[in-house]
Symmetry: C2
Subunit: 126 residues, 2 copies
Amino acid sequence: MNVQLFNHTNDTTCDCCVIHKQLVNKARRLMPEENSLLELADLLRIFGDSTRVRIISALLHAELCVCDIAVLLGMTKSAISHQLRALRQTKLVKRRKAGKIVYYSLDDEHVSSIFKLGLAHVRERK
Amino acid sequence: MNVQLFNHTNDTTCDCCVIHKQLVNKARRLMPEENSLLELADLLRIFGDSTRVRIISALLHAELCVCDIAVLLGMTKSAISHQLRALRQTKLVKRRKAGKIVYYSLDDEHVSSIFKLGLAHVRERK
DNA sequence: ACAATAGCTGAATGAATGTTCAATTATTCA
DNA sequence: TGAATAATTGAACATTCATTCAGCTATTGT
Protein backbone atom coordinates (compact mmCIF):
# COMPACT_ATOMS: atom_id res chain seq x y z
CA MET A 1 0.00 0.00 0.00
CA ASN A 2 1.13 3.51 -0.85
CA VAL A 3 4.28 2.11 -2.37
CA GLN A 4 6.10 4.54 -4.60
CA LEU A 5 5.95 3.04 -8.05
CA PHE A 6 7.93 5.53 -10.09
CA ASN A 7 6.18 4.63 -13.31
CA HIS A 8 7.41 7.36 -15.56
CA THR A 9 4.75 8.10 -18.10
CA ASN A 10 5.33 10.11 -21.24
CA ASP A 11 2.44 12.31 -20.25
CA THR A 12 3.73 15.78 -20.93
CA THR A 13 1.08 17.36 -18.76
CA CYS A 14 2.88 16.30 -15.59
CA ASP A 15 6.59 16.50 -14.93
CA CYS A 16 6.59 13.93 -12.16
CA CYS A 17 6.10 10.26 -11.38
CA VAL A 18 2.80 8.60 -10.69
CA ILE A 19 3.24 8.09 -7.00
CA HIS A 20 0.14 6.09 -6.12
CA LYS A 21 -1.02 4.43 -9.29
CA GLN A 22 -3.62 2.16 -7.73
CA LEU A 23 -5.27 4.98 -5.82
CA VAL A 24 -5.34 7.08 -8.96
CA ASN A 25 -6.95 4.27 -10.92
CA LYS A 26 -9.49 3.72 -8.19
CA ALA A 27 -10.34 7.42 -8.12
CA ARG A 28 -10.68 7.42 -11.88
CA ARG A 29 -13.01 4.43 -11.75
CA LEU A 30 -15.25 5.88 -9.08
CA MET A 31 -15.46 9.38 -10.51
CA PRO A 32 -18.85 10.37 -11.95
CA GLU A 33 -19.05 10.92 -15.68
CA GLU A 34 -17.43 14.11 -16.93
CA ASN A 35 -20.74 15.68 -17.87
CA SER A 36 -22.25 15.32 -14.42
CA LEU A 37 -19.22 16.96 -12.89
CA LEU A 38 -19.44 19.84 -15.34
CA GLU A 39 -23.09 20.38 -14.50
CA LEU A 40 -22.34 20.16 -10.79
CA ALA A 41 -19.60 22.78 -11.16
CA ASP A 42 -22.02 24.98 -13.07
CA LEU A 43 -24.68 24.62 -10.41
CA LEU A 44 -22.36 25.56 -7.57
CA ARG A 45 -20.74 28.38 -9.50
CA ILE A 46 -24.14 29.95 -10.10
CA PHE A 47 -25.03 29.38 -6.46
CA GLY A 48 -21.74 30.88 -5.33
CA ASP A 49 -22.24 34.58 -5.99
CA SER A 50 -23.07 37.04 -3.23
CA THR A 51 -26.03 38.56 -5.05
CA ARG A 52 -27.48 35.18 -5.97
CA VAL A 53 -26.88 33.76 -2.49
CA ARG A 54 -28.79 36.69 -1.04
CA ILE A 55 -31.62 36.10 -3.51
CA ILE A 56 -31.81 32.44 -2.51
CA SER A 57 -31.65 33.41 1.14
CA ALA A 58 -34.61 35.74 0.66
CA LEU A 59 -36.61 33.04 -1.11
CA LEU A 60 -36.04 30.55 1.70
CA HIS A 61 -39.04 31.86 3.62
CA ALA A 62 -41.25 33.51 1.04
CA GLU A 63 -42.16 33.67 -2.61
CA LEU A 64 -41.17 37.12 -3.89
CA CYS A 65 -41.48 39.15 -7.07
CA VAL A 66 -38.58 40.77 -8.90
CA CYS A 67 -39.37 44.18 -7.45
CA ASP A 68 -39.44 42.83 -3.89
CA ILE A 69 -36.00 41.33 -4.31
CA ALA A 70 -34.63 44.48 -5.94
CA VAL A 71 -35.81 46.63 -3.03
CA LEU A 72 -34.64 44.09 -0.45
CA LEU A 73 -31.13 43.95 -1.88
CA GLY A 74 -30.95 47.59 -2.92
CA MET A 75 -30.28 46.79 -6.56
CA THR A 76 -31.94 47.49 -9.89
CA LYS A 77 -34.63 45.23 -11.26
CA SER A 78 -32.45 44.68 -14.30
CA ALA A 79 -29.55 43.33 -12.30
CA ILE A 80 -31.87 41.07 -10.31
CA SER A 81 -33.59 39.85 -13.45
CA HIS A 82 -30.26 38.88 -15.00
CA GLN A 83 -29.32 36.88 -11.92
CA LEU A 84 -32.74 35.27 -11.67
CA ARG A 85 -32.33 34.01 -15.21
CA ALA A 86 -29.06 32.31 -14.26
CA LEU A 87 -30.72 30.81 -11.19
CA ARG A 88 -33.63 29.64 -13.31
CA GLN A 89 -31.40 28.03 -15.94
CA THR A 90 -29.72 25.92 -13.30
CA LYS A 91 -33.11 25.09 -11.79
CA LEU A 92 -32.27 26.75 -8.50
CA VAL A 93 -35.44 28.86 -8.64
CA LYS A 94 -38.73 28.62 -10.50
CA ARG A 95 -41.26 31.29 -11.45
CA ARG A 96 -44.96 31.80 -11.53
CA LYS A 97 -46.64 34.54 -13.50
CA ALA A 98 -49.63 36.45 -12.13
CA GLY A 99 -50.54 39.25 -14.50
CA LYS A 100 -47.67 41.68 -14.81
CA ILE A 101 -45.99 40.29 -11.74
CA VAL A 102 -43.64 37.31 -11.77
CA TYR A 103 -43.17 35.45 -8.51
CA TYR A 104 -39.99 33.53 -7.82
CA SER A 105 -39.42 30.70 -5.36
CA LEU A 106 -36.86 27.99 -4.74
CA ASP A 107 -37.12 25.12 -7.19
CA ASP A 108 -36.81 22.16 -4.85
CA GLU A 109 -35.58 20.92 -1.49
CA HIS A 110 -31.98 20.45 -2.66
CA VAL A 111 -31.52 24.20 -2.85
CA SER A 112 -32.33 24.95 0.77
CA SER A 113 -30.41 21.84 1.84
CA ILE A 114 -27.25 23.01 0.07
CA PHE A 115 -27.76 26.50 1.48
CA LYS A 116 -28.05 25.20 5.04
CA LEU A 117 -25.13 22.80 4.70
CA GLY A 118 -22.92 25.51 3.28
CA LEU A 119 -23.90 27.93 6.00
CA ALA A 120 -23.15 25.32 8.65
CA HIS A 121 -19.76 24.78 7.06
CA VAL A 122 -18.70 28.42 7.09
CA ARG A 123 -19.93 28.81 10.67
CA GLU A 124 -18.15 25.75 12.02
CA ARG A 125 -14.77 26.33 10.40
CA LYS A 126 -12.92 28.55 12.84
CA MET B 1 -52.07 39.43 2.34
CA ASN B 2 -50.24 40.16 -0.84
CA VAL B 3 -51.96 43.51 -1.03
CA GLN B 4 -50.31 45.95 -3.38
CA LEU B 5 -49.16 48.78 -1.18
CA PHE B 6 -47.69 51.18 -3.70
CA ASN B 7 -45.40 52.76 -1.16
CA HIS B 8 -43.24 54.82 -3.43
CA THR B 9 -39.82 55.09 -1.87
CA ASN B 10 -37.20 57.55 -2.97
CA ASP B 11 -34.76 54.69 -3.32
CA THR B 12 -33.04 55.39 -6.59
CA THR B 13 -31.81 51.82 -6.89
CA CYS B 14 -35.27 50.61 -7.87
CA ASP B 15 -37.67 52.32 -10.24
CA CYS B 16 -40.74 50.52 -8.95
CA CYS B 17 -43.12 50.24 -6.02
CA VAL B 18 -42.64 48.00 -3.03
CA ILE B 19 -45.22 45.42 -3.86
CA HIS B 20 -45.13 43.16 -0.81
CA LYS B 21 -43.67 45.21 1.98
CA GLN B 22 -44.42 42.78 4.81
CA LEU B 23 -42.85 39.85 2.99
CA VAL B 24 -39.79 41.94 2.23
CA ASN B 25 -39.47 42.95 5.85
CA LYS B 26 -39.87 39.36 6.97
CA ALA B 27 -37.21 38.22 4.53
CA ARG B 28 -34.91 40.98 5.72
CA ARG B 29 -35.44 39.93 9.35
CA LEU B 30 -34.77 36.26 8.72
CA MET B 31 -31.75 36.71 6.48
CA PRO B 32 -28.40 35.64 7.97
CA GLU B 33 -25.90 38.37 8.67
CA GLU B 34 -24.20 39.83 5.60
CA ASN B 35 -20.84 38.34 6.47
CA SER B 36 -22.11 34.78 6.64
CA LEU B 37 -23.73 35.16 3.25
CA LEU B 38 -20.49 36.50 1.78
CA GLU B 39 -18.56 33.56 3.17
CA LEU B 40 -21.18 31.14 1.91
CA ALA B 41 -20.99 32.67 -1.56
CA ASP B 42 -17.20 32.38 -1.43
CA LEU B 43 -17.38 28.75 -0.39
CA LEU B 44 -19.74 27.76 -3.18
CA ARG B 45 -17.91 29.82 -5.78
CA ILE B 46 -14.68 28.02 -4.98
CA PHE B 47 -16.53 24.71 -5.00
CA GLY B 48 -18.14 25.55 -8.33
CA ASP B 49 -15.27 25.19 -10.78
CA SER B 50 -14.86 22.15 -12.99
CA THR B 51 -11.23 21.57 -12.04
CA ARG B 52 -11.91 21.94 -8.34
CA VAL B 53 -15.04 19.80 -8.49
CA ARG B 54 -13.00 17.05 -10.11
CA ILE B 55 -10.35 17.38 -7.40
CA ILE B 56 -12.99 17.06 -4.70
CA SER B 57 -14.54 14.13 -6.54
CA ALA B 58 -11.17 12.39 -6.58
CA LEU B 59 -10.66 13.00 -2.88
CA LEU B 60 -14.05 11.50 -2.00
CA HIS B 61 -12.60 8.00 -1.87
CA ALA B 62 -8.89 8.46 -1.22
CA GLU B 63 -6.25 10.77 0.14
CA LEU B 64 -4.03 11.83 -2.78
CA CYS B 65 -0.86 13.83 -3.34
CA VAL B 66 -0.55 16.76 -5.74
CA CYS B 67 1.15 14.62 -8.35
CA ASP B 68 -1.60 11.99 -8.23
CA ILE B 69 -4.24 14.60 -8.85
CA ALA B 70 -2.22 16.20 -11.65
CA VAL B 71 -1.89 12.86 -13.45
CA LEU B 72 -5.51 11.94 -12.82
CA LEU B 73 -6.82 15.19 -14.28
CA GLY B 74 -4.15 15.53 -16.97
CA MET B 75 -3.00 18.92 -15.74
CA THR B 76 0.22 20.44 -14.44
CA LYS B 77 1.18 20.26 -10.78
CA SER B 78 1.28 24.03 -10.74
CA ALA B 79 -2.31 24.40 -11.86
CA ILE B 80 -3.43 21.81 -9.33
CA SER B 81 -1.44 23.43 -6.56
CA HIS B 82 -3.05 26.77 -7.24
CA GLN B 83 -6.51 25.25 -7.01
CA LEU B 84 -5.66 23.26 -3.91
CA ARG B 85 -4.70 26.47 -2.20
CA ALA B 86 -8.10 27.96 -2.97
CA LEU B 87 -9.76 24.80 -1.69
CA ARG B 88 -7.62 24.90 1.43
CA GLN B 89 -8.40 28.55 2.15
CA THR B 90 -12.12 27.81 2.17
CA LYS B 91 -11.53 24.73 4.30
CA LEU B 92 -12.81 22.38 1.64
CA VAL B 93 -9.65 20.27 1.78
CA LYS B 94 -6.87 19.80 4.31
CA ARG B 95 -3.29 18.62 3.86
CA ARG B 96 -0.78 16.38 5.57
CA LYS B 97 2.93 16.50 4.88
CA ALA B 98 5.02 13.35 4.67
CA GLY B 99 8.53 14.23 3.61
CA LYS B 100 8.53 15.84 0.22
CA ILE B 101 5.00 14.64 -0.47
CA VAL B 102 1.88 16.53 0.57
CA TYR B 103 -1.33 14.53 0.88
CA TYR B 104 -4.68 16.18 0.43
CA SER B 105 -8.06 15.02 1.68
CA LEU B 106 -11.53 16.49 2.21
CA ASP B 107 -11.73 18.69 5.26
CA ASP B 108 -14.99 17.49 6.79
CA GLU B 109 -18.32 15.79 6.18
CA HIS B 110 -20.00 18.93 4.86
CA VAL B 111 -17.92 18.79 1.70
CA SER B 112 -19.02 15.34 0.59
CA SER B 113 -22.58 16.14 1.66
CA ILE B 114 -22.70 19.22 -0.53
CA PHE B 115 -21.11 17.27 -3.37
CA LYS B 116 -23.70 14.51 -3.16
CA LEU B 117 -26.64 16.89 -2.79
CA GLY B 118 -25.49 18.90 -5.78
CA LEU B 119 -24.99 15.81 -7.87
CA ALA B 120 -28.45 14.59 -6.94
CA HIS B 121 -29.85 17.96 -8.00
CA VAL B 122 -28.28 18.00 -11.44
CA ARG B 123 -29.34 14.41 -12.04
CA GLU B 124 -32.95 14.87 -11.00
CA ARG B 125 -33.63 18.08 -12.93
CA LYS B 126 -34.71 16.96 -16.37
C1' DA C 1 -56.56 52.17 -28.08
C1' DC C 2 -53.49 54.35 -24.83
C1' DA C 3 -50.81 55.20 -20.78
C1' DA C 4 -48.54 53.02 -17.03
C1' DT C 5 -45.94 49.46 -15.01
C1' DA C 6 -43.41 44.79 -14.15
C1' DG C 7 -40.14 42.40 -16.08
C1' DC C 8 -36.82 41.01 -19.73
C1' DT C 9 -32.91 41.48 -22.93
C1' DG C 10 -28.44 42.69 -25.54
C1' DA C 11 -24.35 45.27 -25.73
C1' DA C 12 -20.66 47.38 -23.30
C1' DT C 13 -17.41 47.78 -19.67
C1' DG C 14 -14.59 47.04 -15.76
C1' DA C 15 -13.40 43.53 -12.42
C1' DA C 16 -12.41 38.81 -11.18
C1' DT C 17 -10.33 34.47 -12.27
C1' DG C 18 -7.93 30.00 -14.24
C1' DT C 19 -3.84 28.49 -16.40
C1' DT C 20 0.89 28.92 -17.92
C1' DC C 21 5.63 29.88 -17.25
C1' DA C 22 9.68 30.59 -14.66
C1' DA C 23 11.65 30.70 -10.45
C1' DT C 24 11.82 29.29 -5.57
C1' DT C 25 11.36 26.46 -1.28
C1' DA C 26 11.60 22.20 1.27
C1' DT C 27 12.91 17.63 1.73
C1' DT C 28 15.34 13.24 0.72
C1' DC C 29 19.17 10.48 -0.44
C1' DA C 30 23.74 9.49 -1.84
C1' DT D 1 27.31 18.98 0.96
C1' DG D 2 25.05 18.64 -3.49
C1' DA D 3 21.84 16.65 -6.83
C1' DA D 4 17.11 15.42 -7.48
C1' DT D 5 12.31 15.92 -6.82
C1' DA D 6 7.55 17.39 -4.80
C1' DA D 7 5.31 21.29 -4.12
C1' DT D 8 4.57 26.27 -3.94
C1' DT D 9 4.53 30.95 -5.56
C1' DG D 10 4.12 35.41 -8.34
C1' DA D 11 3.44 37.67 -12.58
C1' DA D 12 1.25 37.73 -16.98
C1' DC D 13 -2.30 36.75 -20.11
C1' DA D 14 -6.71 35.46 -21.79
C1' DT D 15 -11.23 34.57 -20.58
C1' DT D 16 -15.37 34.91 -17.89
C1' DC D 17 -18.71 37.41 -15.59
C1' DA D 18 -21.70 40.97 -12.84
C1' DT D 19 -23.64 45.27 -13.38
C1' DT D 20 -25.23 49.26 -15.98
C1' DC D 21 -27.75 51.40 -19.54
C1' DA D 22 -31.11 51.82 -23.00
C1' DG D 23 -34.65 49.88 -25.18
C1' DC D 24 -38.01 46.30 -25.49
C1' DT D 25 -42.27 43.06 -24.47
C1' DA D 26 -46.32 41.83 -21.89
C1' DT D 27 -50.07 42.97 -19.13
C1' DT D 28 -53.44 45.90 -16.72
C1' DG D 29 -56.96 49.43 -16.24
C1' DT D 30 -59.25 53.35 -18.00
